[in-house]
Protein backbone atom coordinates (compact mmCIF):
# COMPACT_ATOMS: atom_id res chain seq x y z
CA UNK A 1 0.00 0.00 0.00
CA UNK A 2 1.28 3.48 -0.85
CA UNK A 3 2.40 5.49 2.15
CA UNK A 4 -0.10 8.29 2.77
CA UNK A 5 0.71 11.61 4.44
CA UNK A 6 -1.85 13.21 6.71
CA UNK A 7 -2.44 16.78 5.61
CA UNK A 8 -5.15 19.39 4.99
CA UNK A 9 -7.00 21.30 2.34
CA UNK A 10 -7.16 25.10 2.37
CA UNK A 11 -10.51 24.98 4.19
CA UNK A 12 -9.00 22.79 6.91
CA UNK A 13 -10.45 19.48 5.71
CA UNK A 14 -8.20 16.62 6.79
CA UNK A 15 -7.03 14.53 3.84
CA UNK A 16 -4.28 12.06 3.09
CA UNK A 17 -2.01 12.37 0.08
CA UNK A 18 0.82 10.29 -1.32
CA UNK A 19 4.35 11.70 -1.35
CA UNK A 20 4.08 12.11 -5.12
CA UNK A 21 0.84 14.07 -4.79
CA UNK A 22 2.33 16.39 -2.18
CA UNK A 23 5.39 16.99 -4.34
CA UNK A 24 3.21 17.69 -7.34
CA UNK A 25 1.13 20.20 -5.37
CA UNK A 26 4.28 21.90 -4.10
CA UNK A 27 5.52 22.26 -7.69
CA UNK A 28 2.17 23.57 -8.87
CA UNK A 29 1.88 26.07 -6.02
CA UNK A 30 5.36 27.41 -6.73
CA UNK A 31 4.65 27.59 -10.46
CA UNK A 32 1.39 29.43 -9.86
CA UNK A 33 3.14 32.00 -7.65
CA UNK A 34 5.92 32.47 -10.20
CA UNK A 35 3.49 32.97 -13.07
CA UNK A 36 1.07 35.20 -11.17
CA UNK A 37 3.61 37.52 -9.59
CA UNK A 38 6.34 37.14 -12.20
CA UNK A 39 8.87 36.02 -9.62
CA UNK A 40 11.49 33.25 -9.57
CA UNK A 41 10.44 29.74 -8.64
CA UNK A 42 11.86 28.13 -5.49
CA UNK A 43 14.93 25.97 -6.05
CA UNK A 44 14.78 22.17 -6.14
CA UNK A 45 16.47 22.10 -2.74
CA UNK A 46 13.87 24.45 -1.27
CA UNK A 47 11.04 22.34 -2.71
CA UNK A 48 12.59 19.27 -1.10
CA UNK A 49 12.90 21.11 2.21
CA UNK A 50 9.23 22.08 1.95
CA UNK A 51 8.23 18.51 1.21
CA UNK A 52 10.07 17.34 4.32
CA UNK A 53 8.17 19.86 6.44
CA UNK A 54 4.83 18.77 4.94
CA UNK A 55 5.68 15.07 5.32
CA UNK A 56 6.98 15.31 8.89
CA UNK A 57 4.72 12.97 10.90
CA UNK A 58 4.72 15.04 14.11
CA UNK A 59 1.52 16.91 14.75
CA UNK A 60 3.35 20.23 15.11
CA UNK A 61 6.68 21.42 13.75
CA UNK A 62 8.94 24.36 14.55
CA UNK A 63 11.92 26.26 13.20
CA UNK A 64 15.43 25.12 14.07
CA UNK A 65 17.13 26.67 17.09
CA UNK A 66 18.71 29.96 16.13
CA UNK A 67 16.30 30.59 13.25
CA UNK A 68 13.49 32.10 15.32
CA UNK A 69 11.93 35.39 14.21
CA UNK A 70 9.91 38.20 15.72
CA UNK A 71 6.18 37.55 15.89
CA UNK A 72 4.22 40.77 15.73
CA UNK A 73 0.48 40.59 16.25
CA UNK A 74 -2.55 42.31 14.83
CA UNK A 75 -4.90 42.29 17.76
CA UNK A 76 -4.16 38.89 19.24
CA UNK A 77 -4.94 40.00 22.77
CA UNK A 78 -8.31 41.20 21.46
CA UNK A 79 -9.17 37.59 20.73
CA UNK A 80 -8.86 36.86 24.45
CA UNK A 81 -11.96 38.89 25.29
CA UNK A 82 -13.76 39.22 21.93
CA UNK A 83 -16.40 36.91 20.54
CA UNK A 84 -16.55 34.60 17.57
CA UNK A 85 -16.55 37.44 15.02
CA UNK A 86 -12.93 38.19 15.94
CA UNK A 87 -12.08 34.53 16.49
CA UNK A 88 -12.32 35.49 20.15
CA UNK A 89 -12.66 33.17 23.11
CA UNK A 90 -14.74 35.53 25.25
CA UNK A 91 -12.81 35.57 28.50
CA UNK A 92 -13.95 38.58 30.55
CA UNK A 93 -10.68 40.48 30.61
CA UNK A 94 -10.05 44.20 30.22
CA UNK A 95 -7.87 45.29 27.33
CA UNK A 96 -4.92 45.84 29.64
CA UNK A 97 -5.35 42.48 31.35
CA UNK A 98 -5.48 40.75 27.97
CA UNK A 99 -2.34 42.52 26.73
CA UNK A 100 -0.35 41.76 29.87
CA UNK A 101 -1.50 38.14 29.73
CA UNK A 102 -0.39 37.94 26.12
CA UNK A 103 2.98 39.50 26.92
CA UNK A 104 3.71 37.46 30.03
CA UNK A 105 1.81 34.19 29.71
CA UNK A 106 2.32 33.75 25.98
CA UNK A 107 5.81 35.31 25.76
CA UNK A 108 4.82 37.58 22.89
CA UNK A 109 7.59 39.49 21.12
CA UNK A 110 5.31 42.51 20.64
CA UNK A 111 1.82 43.35 21.84
CA UNK A 112 -0.91 45.62 20.56
CA UNK A 113 -3.99 47.48 21.58
CA UNK A 114 -6.89 48.56 19.42
CA UNK A 115 -10.52 49.55 19.38
CA UNK A 116 -12.93 46.64 19.01
CA UNK A 117 -14.02 47.90 15.58
CA UNK A 118 -10.32 47.96 14.63
CA UNK A 119 -10.75 50.73 12.04
CA UNK A 120 -9.37 54.28 12.06
CA UNK A 121 -12.68 56.00 11.35
CA UNK A 122 -14.47 55.00 14.58
CA UNK A 123 -11.31 55.70 16.60
CA UNK A 124 -11.30 59.38 15.64
CA UNK A 125 -14.28 60.48 17.78
CA UNK A 126 -13.05 58.49 20.78
CA UNK A 127 -9.38 59.27 20.40
CA UNK A 128 -9.06 60.68 23.93
CA UNK A 129 -10.42 57.44 25.36
CA UNK A 130 -7.96 55.46 23.25
CA UNK A 131 -5.04 57.70 24.19
CA UNK A 132 -5.82 57.20 27.85
CA UNK A 133 -6.05 53.44 27.51
CA UNK A 134 -2.85 53.27 25.48
CA UNK A 135 -0.94 55.52 27.87
CA UNK A 136 -1.96 53.56 30.95
CA UNK A 137 -1.16 50.23 29.32
CA UNK A 138 2.18 51.36 27.90
CA UNK A 139 3.40 52.10 31.42
CA UNK A 140 2.85 48.44 32.29
CA UNK A 141 4.16 46.64 29.20
CA UNK A 142 7.82 45.81 28.58
CA UNK A 143 7.57 44.45 25.02
CA UNK A 144 6.76 46.97 22.27
CA UNK A 145 3.10 48.00 22.37
CA UNK A 146 1.53 48.89 19.03
CA UNK A 147 -1.72 50.72 18.49
CA UNK A 148 -3.44 48.87 15.67
CA UNK A 149 -6.30 49.71 13.32
CA UNK A 150 -7.29 49.09 9.72
CA UNK A 151 -7.72 51.86 7.10
CA UNK A 152 -10.94 50.07 6.06
CA UNK A 153 -12.03 52.68 3.50
CA UNK A 154 -15.33 50.85 3.05
CA UNK A 155 -16.57 52.65 6.16
CA UNK A 156 -16.44 55.97 4.30
CA UNK A 157 -18.96 54.87 1.69
CA UNK A 158 -22.75 54.87 1.97
CA UNK A 159 -24.51 53.55 3.98
CA UNK A 160 -21.67 53.63 6.54
CA UNK A 161 -20.19 56.97 5.47
CA UNK A 162 -20.82 60.13 3.50
CA UNK A 163 -19.44 59.18 0.09
CA UNK A 164 -21.38 57.43 -2.70
CA UNK A 165 -20.46 53.76 -2.83
CA UNK A 166 -18.31 52.70 -5.80
CA UNK A 167 -19.75 49.19 -5.54
CA UNK A 168 -23.11 50.78 -6.45
CA UNK A 169 -21.73 53.19 -9.06
CA UNK A 170 -19.54 50.78 -11.00
CA UNK A 171 -22.30 48.35 -12.00
CA UNK A 172 -24.24 51.36 -13.29
CA UNK A 173 -21.33 52.21 -15.55
CA UNK A 174 -20.57 55.40 -13.61
CA UNK A 175 -16.83 54.86 -13.78
CA UNK A 176 -15.79 58.50 -13.41
CA UNK A 177 -18.06 59.00 -10.42
CA UNK A 178 -16.81 55.76 -8.86
CA UNK A 179 -13.22 56.94 -9.19
CA UNK A 180 -13.99 60.39 -7.83
CA UNK A 181 -15.77 59.07 -4.78
CA UNK A 182 -12.80 56.80 -4.00
CA UNK A 183 -10.39 59.71 -4.33
CA UNK A 184 -12.49 61.82 -1.94
CA UNK A 185 -12.82 59.00 0.58
CA UNK A 186 -9.10 58.27 0.37
CA UNK A 187 -8.25 61.86 1.22
CA UNK A 188 -10.54 61.76 4.25
CA UNK A 189 -9.11 58.41 5.32
CA UNK A 190 -5.57 59.73 5.00
CA UNK A 191 -6.46 62.70 7.22
CA UNK A 192 -8.08 60.46 9.81
CA UNK A 193 -5.09 58.12 10.00
CA UNK A 194 -2.74 61.07 10.39
CA UNK A 195 -4.99 62.62 13.05
CA UNK A 196 -5.08 59.39 15.08
CA UNK A 197 -1.35 58.82 14.59
CA UNK A 198 -0.38 62.29 15.78
CA UNK A 199 -2.62 62.06 18.82
CA UNK A 200 -1.16 58.70 19.80
CA UNK A 201 2.36 59.94 19.21
CA UNK A 202 1.69 62.77 21.67
CA UNK A 203 1.22 60.25 24.49
CA UNK A 204 4.30 58.22 23.61
CA UNK A 205 2.97 55.62 21.19
CA UNK A 206 5.70 53.04 20.63
CA UNK A 207 4.43 51.93 17.24
CA UNK A 208 1.43 52.33 14.95
CA UNK A 209 0.14 49.33 13.02
CA UNK A 210 -1.83 50.02 9.84
CA UNK A 211 -3.34 46.61 9.40
CA UNK A 212 -4.94 45.16 6.25
CA UNK A 213 -4.15 48.14 4.01
CA UNK A 214 -5.90 48.09 0.64
CA UNK A 215 -8.87 45.99 1.70
CA UNK A 216 -11.16 48.38 -0.19
CA UNK A 217 -8.83 48.48 -3.16
CA UNK A 218 -5.99 50.57 -4.52
CA UNK A 219 -7.29 53.92 -3.25
CA UNK A 220 -7.45 52.47 0.28
CA UNK A 221 -3.78 51.49 0.00
CA UNK A 222 -2.93 54.91 -1.42
CA UNK A 223 -4.48 56.64 1.61
CA UNK A 224 -2.50 54.39 3.94
CA UNK A 225 0.79 55.02 2.12
CA UNK A 226 0.23 58.78 2.06
CA UNK A 227 -0.65 58.74 5.76
CA UNK A 228 2.52 56.80 6.57
CA UNK A 229 4.59 59.30 4.60
CA UNK A 230 2.87 62.19 6.41
CA UNK A 231 3.44 60.58 9.79
CA UNK A 232 7.09 59.86 9.10
CA UNK A 233 7.55 63.62 8.64
CA UNK A 234 5.37 64.70 11.55
CA UNK A 235 6.24 61.96 14.05
CA UNK A 236 9.60 60.51 12.99
CA UNK A 237 10.22 58.63 16.24
CA UNK A 238 7.01 56.61 16.05
CA UNK A 239 7.61 53.41 14.05
CA UNK A 240 4.81 52.57 11.64
CA UNK A 241 4.20 49.10 10.32
CA UNK A 242 1.91 48.34 7.43
CA UNK A 243 0.16 45.11 6.58
CA UNK A 244 -1.32 44.21 3.22
CA UNK A 245 -4.75 42.78 2.60
CA UNK A 246 -4.20 40.43 -0.30
CA UNK A 247 -1.61 39.06 -2.63
CA UNK A 248 -2.36 41.65 -5.26
CA UNK A 249 -3.87 45.07 -4.86
CA UNK A 250 -7.44 45.09 -6.07
CA UNK A 251 -7.92 47.77 -8.72
CA UNK A 252 -11.20 49.28 -7.59
CA UNK A 253 -9.98 52.59 -9.01
CA UNK A 254 -7.25 51.37 -11.32
CA UNK A 255 -5.29 54.56 -11.82
CA UNK A 256 -4.03 55.76 -8.46
CA UNK A 257 -0.28 55.82 -7.96
CA UNK A 258 2.21 56.31 -5.16
CA UNK A 259 5.76 57.37 -5.82
CA UNK A 260 4.93 57.24 -9.53
CA UNK A 261 3.89 53.59 -9.39
CA UNK A 262 0.38 52.38 -10.13
CA UNK A 263 -0.90 50.49 -7.10
CA UNK A 264 -3.57 48.36 -8.73
CA UNK A 265 -2.37 44.85 -9.43
CA UNK A 266 0.78 45.11 -7.32
CA UNK A 267 2.03 41.81 -5.92
CA UNK A 268 3.78 41.55 -2.51
CA UNK A 269 7.29 42.33 -3.77
CA UNK A 270 6.08 45.64 -5.22
CA UNK A 271 3.73 46.39 -2.33
CA UNK A 272 6.74 46.08 -0.02
CA UNK A 273 8.69 48.55 -2.17
CA UNK A 274 6.05 51.27 -1.93
CA UNK A 275 5.64 50.64 1.80
CA UNK A 276 9.39 51.05 2.19
CA UNK A 277 9.30 54.18 0.11
CA UNK A 278 6.51 55.65 2.26
CA UNK A 279 8.64 55.10 5.36
CA UNK A 280 7.15 51.99 6.92
CA UNK A 281 9.43 50.19 9.37
CA UNK A 282 8.02 46.74 8.62
CA UNK A 283 5.72 45.48 5.87
CA UNK A 284 3.38 42.56 6.39
CA UNK A 285 2.59 40.62 3.25
CA UNK A 286 -0.75 38.86 2.90
CA UNK A 287 -1.13 35.89 0.59
CA UNK A 288 -4.59 34.44 0.18
CA UNK A 289 -5.24 30.80 0.99
CA UNK A 290 -7.18 28.96 -1.70
CA UNK A 291 -9.74 26.82 0.11
CA UNK A 292 -9.94 24.37 -2.80
CA UNK A 293 -6.23 23.59 -2.88
CA UNK A 294 -4.10 21.52 -0.51
CA UNK A 295 -1.96 22.87 2.30
CA UNK A 296 1.11 21.86 0.27
CA UNK A 297 -0.04 23.95 -2.71
CA UNK A 298 -0.97 26.94 -0.54
CA UNK A 299 2.15 26.93 1.62
CA UNK A 300 4.47 26.44 -1.37
CA UNK A 301 2.82 29.33 -3.15
CA UNK A 302 3.00 31.58 -0.08
CA UNK A 303 6.66 30.73 0.51
CA UNK A 304 7.60 31.63 -3.08
CA UNK A 305 5.81 34.98 -2.85
CA UNK A 306 7.32 35.76 0.54
CA UNK A 307 10.84 34.91 -0.57
CA UNK A 308 10.50 37.36 -3.48
CA UNK A 309 9.15 40.12 -1.22
CA UNK A 310 11.93 39.62 1.35
CA UNK A 311 14.53 39.91 -1.42
CA UNK A 312 12.95 43.03 -2.89
CA UNK A 313 13.39 45.45 0.03
CA UNK A 314 15.71 46.43 2.85
CA UNK A 315 12.97 46.70 5.49
CA UNK A 316 11.87 43.65 7.46
CA UNK A 317 9.05 41.59 5.97
CA UNK A 318 6.61 39.98 8.35
CA UNK A 319 4.07 37.54 6.93
CA UNK A 320 0.38 37.71 7.75
CA UNK A 321 -0.40 34.27 9.08
CA UNK A 322 -3.90 34.64 10.40
CA UNK A 323 -6.91 32.66 9.31
CA UNK A 324 -7.01 32.28 5.52
CA UNK A 325 -3.64 33.87 4.72
CA UNK A 326 -0.02 32.75 4.45
CA UNK A 327 -0.94 29.12 3.89
CA UNK A 328 -3.06 29.00 7.06
CA UNK A 329 -6.40 27.28 6.40
CA UNK A 330 -9.50 29.43 6.07
CA UNK A 331 -11.50 28.29 9.05
CA UNK A 332 -12.44 29.60 12.44
CA UNK A 333 -10.11 27.30 14.37
CA UNK A 334 -7.16 26.77 12.00
CA UNK A 335 -5.63 23.32 12.57
CA UNK A 336 -2.40 23.57 14.51
CA UNK A 337 -0.61 21.01 12.31
CA UNK A 338 -0.95 23.20 9.23
CA UNK A 339 -0.47 26.49 11.10
CA UNK A 340 2.94 25.37 12.37
CA UNK A 341 3.93 23.97 8.96
CA UNK A 342 3.10 27.31 7.37
CA UNK A 343 5.00 29.08 10.14
CA UNK A 344 8.17 27.00 9.77
CA UNK A 345 8.13 27.05 5.95
CA UNK A 346 7.70 30.81 5.68
CA UNK A 347 10.58 31.45 8.07
CA UNK A 348 13.06 28.78 7.05
CA UNK A 349 12.48 28.74 3.30
CA UNK A 350 10.74 32.07 2.65
CA UNK A 351 13.33 33.80 4.88
CA UNK A 352 10.67 36.00 6.45
CA UNK A 353 11.98 38.51 8.98
CA UNK A 354 8.97 37.91 11.15
CA UNK A 355 5.38 36.79 11.27
Amino acid sequence: MTYRILTRMGDGERVTMSAAEIKEDISEGIRDAAQSAEIPELTAGESEQLFNIMAEPSRTVSVSAGEEVVVTDDGCSMSFYAGQDSSGIGVPLSRMQAILTYERACAADTTSIGHSDYSFKPVKPIINFEMNEYYTTSMMTTAPLFYGAQPNMGLYFQPDGPYPNPADLLPQGKIKEACETQEAAAEQLRNDIVFVGKKLNSIGCEGLNLDTCGSAGDADLLAALQAVADLKKATPDMPVIMGGSGEFVLGMHGDVAFDGKRLAGMYPQDQAKVAESAGASIYGVAINTNTNKSAAWNIARAVALVKAAVAAVDIPIHVNVGMGVGGVPMMEAPPIDTVTRASKSLVQIGKADGL
Partner: protein
Protein backbone atom coordinates in the same frame (compact mmCIF):
# COMPACT_ATOMS: atom_id res chain seq x y z
CA UNK B 1 -3.41 30.61 16.71
CA UNK B 2 -0.85 33.33 17.50
CA UNK B 3 0.34 31.08 20.28
CA UNK B 4 1.05 28.32 17.75
CA UNK B 5 3.19 30.75 15.71
CA UNK B 6 4.96 31.94 18.85
CA UNK B 7 5.81 28.37 19.80
CA UNK B 8 6.78 27.34 16.26
CA UNK B 9 8.74 30.40 15.18
CA UNK B 10 8.76 33.18 17.78
CA UNK B 11 11.72 34.49 19.74
CA UNK B 12 10.12 34.24 23.16
CA UNK B 13 9.33 37.86 24.01
CA UNK B 14 10.57 39.02 27.41
CA UNK B 15 11.17 35.37 28.30
CA UNK B 16 14.30 35.65 26.17
CA UNK B 17 15.06 38.56 23.81
CA UNK B 18 12.13 38.77 21.36
CA UNK B 19 11.17 42.26 22.51
CA UNK B 20 14.73 43.52 22.05
CA UNK B 21 15.02 42.20 18.51
CA UNK B 22 11.57 43.60 17.73
CA UNK B 23 12.65 47.06 18.94
CA UNK B 24 15.50 47.00 16.44
CA UNK B 25 13.24 46.01 13.56
CA UNK B 26 10.81 48.75 14.49
CA UNK B 27 13.18 51.59 15.22
CA UNK B 28 15.99 50.83 12.76
CA UNK B 29 14.14 48.79 10.12
CA UNK B 30 16.64 45.98 10.53
CA UNK B 31 16.23 42.64 8.81
CA UNK B 32 16.07 39.74 11.21
CA UNK B 33 19.70 38.68 11.06
CA UNK B 34 20.98 42.25 11.41
CA UNK B 35 18.63 42.89 14.35
CA UNK B 36 19.70 39.70 16.11
CA UNK B 37 23.34 40.48 15.51
CA UNK B 38 22.94 43.98 16.92
CA UNK B 39 21.14 42.79 20.04
CA UNK B 40 23.55 39.91 20.62
CA UNK B 41 26.46 42.37 20.43
CA UNK B 42 24.84 44.71 22.93
CA UNK B 43 24.11 41.83 25.29
CA UNK B 44 27.48 40.20 24.76
CA UNK B 45 26.00 36.81 23.88
CA UNK B 46 26.01 34.51 20.87
CA UNK B 47 23.07 34.83 18.47
CA UNK B 48 21.85 31.35 19.31
CA UNK B 49 21.59 32.35 22.96
CA UNK B 50 19.11 35.11 22.18
CA UNK B 51 16.42 32.46 22.49
CA UNK B 52 18.14 30.48 25.21
CA UNK B 53 16.07 30.89 28.37
CA UNK B 54 18.91 29.58 30.51
CA UNK B 55 21.12 32.49 29.42
CA UNK B 56 18.55 35.23 28.91
CA UNK B 57 16.60 34.80 32.18
CA UNK B 58 19.57 35.67 34.32
CA UNK B 59 20.94 38.28 31.94
CA UNK B 60 17.67 40.16 31.81
CA UNK B 61 17.45 40.31 35.58
CA UNK B 62 21.05 41.45 35.79
CA UNK B 63 20.50 44.18 33.18
CA UNK B 64 17.19 45.19 34.82
CA UNK B 65 15.29 45.02 31.55
CA UNK B 66 12.37 42.95 32.82
CA UNK B 67 11.92 39.22 33.19
CA UNK B 68 8.95 37.02 32.39
CA UNK B 69 8.14 36.07 35.98
CA UNK B 70 6.82 38.62 38.41
CA UNK B 71 9.39 39.78 40.94
CA UNK B 72 8.29 42.48 43.36
CA UNK B 73 10.55 45.49 43.05
CA UNK B 74 12.22 44.30 39.86
CA UNK B 75 11.96 46.61 36.84
CA UNK B 76 9.14 45.90 34.44
CA UNK B 77 7.03 48.07 32.17
CA UNK B 78 8.24 51.61 31.60
CA UNK B 79 11.17 51.28 34.01
CA UNK B 80 12.44 48.28 32.06
CA UNK B 81 11.91 50.08 28.74
CA UNK B 82 13.99 52.99 30.01
CA UNK B 83 16.86 50.55 30.52
CA UNK B 84 16.21 48.88 27.15
CA UNK B 85 16.40 52.22 25.33
CA UNK B 86 19.75 52.91 27.00
CA UNK B 87 21.09 49.41 26.37
CA UNK B 88 20.15 49.33 22.69
CA UNK B 89 20.78 53.05 22.16
CA UNK B 90 17.39 53.58 20.58
CA UNK B 91 14.57 56.07 20.91
CA UNK B 92 11.39 54.68 22.44
CA UNK B 93 8.53 57.15 22.34
CA UNK B 94 6.99 56.20 25.67
CA UNK B 95 10.38 56.42 27.37
CA UNK B 96 11.08 59.82 25.83
CA UNK B 97 7.75 61.13 27.09
CA UNK B 98 8.49 59.82 30.56
CA UNK B 99 11.96 61.35 30.55
CA UNK B 100 10.57 64.70 29.44
CA UNK B 101 8.25 64.64 32.43
CA UNK B 102 10.92 63.97 35.10
CA UNK B 103 13.59 66.39 33.96
Amino acid sequence: MHIAHIVASGMGGIRTSGDLVAWMQMTHKMKIFEAKHYVADKLGVDIIDLTNEEVMRQLREQLEIGVITSIAGSPKGLRAKLKIAELLEIKINSVNLFKSQIT
